[in-house]
């Protein structure tokens, strides 16, 4: 399967600070990709690099096999909804559609008209007077009616109330079925994306901590609960992502492709949120380790991070 987005040692620097660093990614097409990370992790930087609003300071990025650029050919293939789903407050809904039709050669007026009708939007209403949810839907309509192959949305639901959030994701999933478009959407909340994504990228402190298909990630991570264990004595194929210990008990989150054979462990499934939090905690730990190389063993510091 071809990649919709691939990055090699991609980096973006502002002054002395790297907003994105050593980023390697290969996102296959046909997925709804969740780009998750805390605020300031570099999500927007990565997205702006992908749509050509920024140029890399290091490494390379390709989107649909091409360097992101402002060439009309590339722009027509990628739909982009920026953070907080901006619209022109003083223009009406109909004006927005006219603008979209004027600026996009592949504009599908029928798709736009039907969506506005389904959403029950008044074409004459000014965008500034729409609710947050309606504005988000209008922005999505503009991005979708140009019939892109790849749709990129930056925190599309962050500012929406729970109902509008649900409605937005419902209509986004409908678009995915109708148009077979690949999607990347970012959020700092895993819970928002849990049901809609089948591919996950976790970005923490300007680095990619985890990337892969959700099913595979869930199948290869386990929570182990058992009597106190020495983590250094675990089988080689079990990588500890998170650990906490009391004097009697150990609780670990491990990555392992093989089954857990040690019968003294109770093995539990992890959900996506646990998984993401564990990797975020690990990232916090490794940055502190770098700053303080003789900071002692990793054990039990995680609790502090969380």
């Amino acid at each position: 399967m071809s990649a919709v987005l691939s990055a090699r040692r991609l980096g973006k620097r502002y002054g002395r600070k790297w907003a994105l660093n050593e980023c390697d990614l290969d996102i296959p097409s046909g997925h709804v990709v969740g780009l998750v990370g805390p605020n300031g992790a570099g999500k927007t930087t990565l997205i702006h690099l992908a749509v050509g609003l920024l140029t890399p300071s290091a490494g390379t990025i390709e989107v649909l096999g091409n360097k992101p650029s402002d060439s009309p050919a590339q722009l027509s293939r990628v739909g982009f909804v920026a953070q907080d789903t901006p619209t022109y407050a003083r223009l009406s809904v109909a004006d927005h559609l006219a603008l979209g039709a004027h600026m996009n050669p592949g504009w599908d007026a029928e798709v736009a008209r039907r969506r506005i009708e389904d959403l029950d939007l008044d074409p004459k209403q000014k965008a500034g007077t729409l609710s947050g949810g309606q504005r988000a839907q209008l922005a999505l309509t503009l991005a979708v009616a140009k019939r892109p192959e790849f749709l990129i949305l930056d925190e599309p639901v962050a500012s929406l109330d729970p109902l509008a959030r649900r409605e937005f994701l419902q209509s986004l999933m409908e678009v995915v079925v109708e148009q077979g478009v690949s999607v990347v959407l970012s959020s700092h909340l895993v819970a928002d994306l849990e049901r809609v994504c089948d591919y996950l990228v976790v970005l923490v402190s300007s680095r990619v901590q985890l990337a892969g298909e959700v099913d595979e990630l869930l199948a290869s991570h386990h929570r182990l609960i058992g009597p106190r264990h020495d983590v250094d004595a675990l089988p080689r194929d079990q990588h500890v992502i998170e650990e906490s210990h009391t004097d009697r008990q150990s609780t670990l989150l491990v990555r392992s492709d093989g089954p857990i054979l040690d019968p003294s462990w109770t093995v539990e499934q992890v959900d996506l949120e646990d998984l993401v939090l564990a990797y975020m905690g690990q990232a916090g730990l490794s940055t502190r380790r770098r700053r303080n190389p003789d900071g002692g063993k990793a054990v039990s510091q995680l609790d502090v991070v969380r």
Binding site: V32, R166, L169, Q170, S171, M173, E174, V176, V177, E178, E194, R195, V196, C197, D198, L218, Q269, D271
Partner: protein
């Protein structure tokens, strides 16, 4: 036609919840041979879930011989779970009720009964594998 619902805190993956709900609807007689399942688009528009989740559930049902896809039309129920319909298991149900009553008399509360059932169920399943 049935509608799916998802419990996010159940620990059961969404695709499996859909599979289970179809099987359950068949057992309860809500879905019959020849009935159409909701289209992928209908399900994602209702639940706001990834289309691949629905496709995976429907493929699983096909694999079990409970449904089949007609390209361009939709997915239809083929076959039945009549043999498994709950009414057909009167004796088993009565035995279970007797057992539950016994457990209560032995002083077990609901949670302990459930735990006992789960652990016996699991060890029985393990023995089958071994």
């Amino acid at each position: 036609m049935i509608e799916f619902h998802l419990e996010s805190r159940s620990g059961v993956s969404p695709y499996l919840q859909i599979v289970q709900q179809v099987r359950q609807a068949m057992r309860l007689g809500l879905l019959h041979d020849g009935d159409q399942l909701p289209t992928v688009k209908e399900v994602v528009a209702q639940l706001a879930i990834n289309p691949n989740t629905v496709l995976k559930a429907y493929r699983e049902l096909e694999h079990e011989g409970l449904a089949s896809a007609r390209p361009g039309v939709g997915t239809f129920i083929t076959g039945s779970l009549a043999g498994e319909s709950l009414a057909a298991h009167g004796p088993l149900r009565r035995a279970l009720q007797t057992w539950i009553a016994k457990a209560r008399r032995a002083g077990l509360d609901d949670e302990s009964i459930e735990a006992l059932f789960q652990s016996s169920f699991r060890s029985a399943a393990d023995e089958e594998i071994a």
